[in-house]
Amino acid sequence: MFLRALTVCSMLALSAAGVLADNRSAAKEQVDFGIKVAQNGLWREAQYRWERAVELDPSYAEAWNNLAIAYEHGGKFDDARKAYETAIKLDPKNMLIRQNYDLFKEINDRTQKRRGPR
């Protein structure tokens, strides 16, 4: 009985892992395509692709990073901030994501910061 339950659990776990792997692979395709079109200046298409990627795999930090860049390029600063923060949360040790976020914050803070007393 116990052996049967263990087998069922293992099969479920394996199939879940398979689904996750499938999602990651589909998301990766979207990310790759997004990078290609962004390099050609088609940022809207790139944004759409990366939005699809994070829908498919919300734990894909790199996709969130790219999406944040697309939002930044489009002037959607609130969305960009959220996307960067999600990316950092998912992969806190990724220095490249942090570097992007720091550059974004520098611009965002500079434009919003009051430079002198009223």
Binding site: N65, I97, Q99
Partner: protein, 317 residues
């Protein structure tokens, strides 16, 4: 036998190559758009009229600021820049305070040419402050309606304003600090004056304000960087603290945007920048002025038009 220094260098190259090989990243240039702080769509032309300037005598803050802003607007905004004489705004403000309330105010352009009183409209010192969105406000303040004109032909009689204690006319005319500048602020509330100026130039957006450019000195400990060779033979930058006497300049401009159709203030923004040099360094005040203004110009332009900040980001796979 390989020296330890070479081993370390070789190891770091191998690690770097491995890191690059394993990481899929693409550096990409991006342009971040910064939305303007005020809506300038009703205007096709801009008049940088003049500034009330003060501080050091080494730089003519009024003239230099007008020149600089005009050239920046010409190249970096969609508005057509009106080439007109620079208004001696401090003198005009002084005259307005001197003039009795019943006396007619000078037309702005007449004053710029240095002629005597000539207009037919009295100055309006209603004292009612216009709603002004200072920096940080994303939407421009609504343009208030002008006070209704009183009867009596073209001449608009307005409430006389008693001279301020210590007003512009009360001192030697020199503006040395923020307190001196405060005495001149009333001119920006004189909607009739700005409306008349606007009419002379077909209702443009008017840019004016104040510029205070002053000397400063400071002494104390500062953090500086020095390059050293570490035990592995690499050059590293190390911060250290040292006592320094420094001198420099502070610039405090306040840019005011006025609707040339109504004379009302649409938006105002205040800035503060300073620069310090080692005490022995001789830097011309005009160079410092331009260095400081260079830092402010993007923010100034950002009030009027969408600016794009270029940079690079890293896309990841």
């Amino acid at each position: 036998m390989i020296a330890p220094r070479n081993v370390a260098a070789l190891a770091s190259i191998v690690v770097l190559c491995a890191a690059i090989g394993c990481t899929n990243f693409y550096e990409i240039p991006i342009e971040t758009p910064i939305q303007p702080k005020m809506d300038v769509t009703p205007f096709t032309r801009v008049l940088v009229a003049g500034f009330i300037s003060g501080g050091t005598d080494d730089v003519d803050g009024n003239l230099e600021t007008v020149r600089l802003l005009r050239s920046q607007l010409r190249s970096k905004s969609n508005l057509r820049v009106i080439e007109a004489e620079v208004l001696p705004l401090a003198d005009i403000a002084r005259d307005q305070f001197k003039a009795p309330a019943s006396a007619p105010a000078s037309a702005p352009s007449d004053q710029a040419r240095g002629s005597g009183p000539a207009g037919s409209e009295a100055t309006n010192h209603s004292g009612a402050s216009q709603p002004v969105a200072e920096s940080g406000g994303q939407t421009p303040a609504p343009v208030p309606a002008l006070p209704p004109a009183t009867e009596g032909g073209s001449s608009q009689q307005v409430q006389p304003v008693p001279p301020l204690a210590g007003g512009p006319a009360a001192d030697d005319g020199k503006i040395r600090n923020e307190k001196d500048l405060e005495r001149y602020q009333k001119i920006f509330e004189n909607t009739e004056f700005w409306k008349k100026l606007g009419q002379e130039h077909q209702n443009p957006l008017i840019v004016t304000g104040t510029v205070l450019f002053t000397n400063t000195q400071s002494s104390g400990f500062v953090t500086q960087n020095r390059e050293i060779i570490d035990p592995l033979g690499r050059r590293v930058v190390q911060p250290y603290r040292t006592y320094m006497e420094r001198k420099g300049f502070i610039i405090e401009p306040r840019f005011i945007f006025i609707d040339g159709r109504t004379g009302a203030v649409l938006y105002a923004d205040r800035f503060h920048e300073e620069i310090l040099y080692p005490a022995q360094q001789q830097t011309p005040p005009l160079s410092s002025y331009f260095e400081l203004m260079d830092r402010l110009i993007p923010s100034f332009l950002g009030s009027l038009s969408t600016q794009r900040i270029r940079g690079t980001r890293v896309l990841l796979k």
